[in-house]
Subunit: 135 residues, 2 copies
């Protein structure tokens, strides 16, 4: 399951994409609009900053802004930044120990096919696809 971190990260990104790209948006504002605890969002935006997906500026008049145009963000990279990995099963995670049953495993092809399905899906979805289309 996609955790709150991943889902909230997506909402933060969508929120930022809906604001004037030249005005830094304070986290307080995002938290209020999205009805999410500001304290908790701090953890999430920290990851987004470290991943280079957004930029933060301190002090009065500071806040966050996107570093690219919304079309340039894939949903997958946003989710993976928070979830660590979208791998369906433990043995397909990047840091997984090599499985001793690999050669004989009858389920591995299933998980590999599923893994590709999921990753391709979230790669194909762009941040811009999630923006409000009304007016």
């Amino acid at each position: 399951m996609i955790s709150t971190k991943g889902r909230y990260a997506l909402r933060v990104m969508i929120d930022l994409a809906g604001q004037d790209p030249h005005r830094p948006v304070p986290l307080k504002e995002i938290a209020e609009r999205q009805q999410i605890s500001k304290k908790y969002l701090e953890i999430i935006v920290k990851d987004l900053v470290r991943g280079g997906l957004i930029h933060g500026s301190s002090g009065k008049g500071g806040g966050y802004r996107l570093t690219r145009a919304p079309e340039e963000y894939g949903v997958r990279e946003i989710l993976e930044l928070e979830e660590g990995s979208l791998a369906a099963v433990a043995c397909l995670k990047d840091d997984a120990a090599p499985c001793p049953r690999q050669g004989e495993c009858r389920t591995l092809p299933l998980w590999q096919e599923y893994d590709k399905l999921v990753k391709d899906f979230f790669d194909s979805k762009r941040l811009s696809d999630l923006l409000d289309s009304r007016t």
Copy 2:
């Protein structure tokens, strides 16, 4: 992520499908072949029995057997029996409280599309697709 329960359940079903359908297969045997703790497997086969996917018979000469032909099992129903639900996000679980943000949520369509993708995938995969094709 798919947990060990779901993955082990699938391996139990595959194991049973590879055995003589008229001979009840003792759990001890499955545990040894699959290299999984018999004690832990007890929990899993209990669910499979309750779900009607396999049948158990007690006593000497007892064991487990499939209740249908391998083509008649969808991978989804096996996994859902152990995982509870394959829902991608909390708000799409069957027992989820109605989300107050539903009408305005910009991510809901994404999760719905993803949910359908996953469920359709595991519906389309049959137990028979996972059996060893060699010889």
